[in-house]
Symmetry: C2
Subunit: 112 residues, 2 copies
């Protein structure tokens, strides 16, 4: 399934969303607090958060009327592994990278 890389990279392509992720590095935040530094509407931020959550990059947990947003750094790992396959072979787990390539290209790799 290529869906994960699709949604993760698409989510990361927007500067507002990357800024939100950076903010969440520091601490979990309520939606309103996430929205505070931005000029755009709360509804727009809410949509951005949905996109980040769909990509698995954050999780949201509603406690009372507060919807807490929490960074989920693991979601970036697959994408990071994929990227590092380019130009930095010596640094990464080549097996993991090849499994990604196979899934992406849907080719039949050297069978055992």
């Amino acid at each position: 399934m290529t869906l994960t890389l699709d949604t993760v990279f698409a989510a990361l392509a927007d500067p507002t969303r990357r800024a939100i992720l950076s903010m969440l590095l520091e601490d979990d935040m309520a939606v309103t607090d996430v929205a505070a530094p931005f000029q755009i509407s709360l509804a727009a931020i809410s949509k951005h958060l949905t996109i980040l959550a769909d990509a698995g990059l954050i999780s949201q947990e509603k406690r009372g009327r507060i919807n807490w947003c929490k960074l989920e750094p693991d979601a970036m790992r697959n994408a990071s592994v994929w990227m590092q396959g380019f130009g930095q072979f010596e640094l990464i787990d080549l097996d993991a990278f090849e499994r990604f390539l196979e899934a992406e290209l849907d080719i039949d790799p050297t069978p055992d």
Copy 2:
């Protein structure tokens, strides 16, 4: 400038373009050969290649009527550094990551 991360991540968000990059890992290729495995039109592939080139992920060099496409793995490095800041602090150059955060958030960091 946040443009680099914008264009790189946006370019990587499309599975066709990721597949093209994977193909170019093996060798430089002509546009027609890049297009061969795909069902979509040559013109569509040509557009994808333009997007990849604009993001700096590939370069194109016209020799004769052949437009050779070459992987430029360095372009992914900034994005890779950015991503690795999330959850894998011990593995990366924290200085480089902080410079990226500053540029992204446009904040005034501890001045010297």
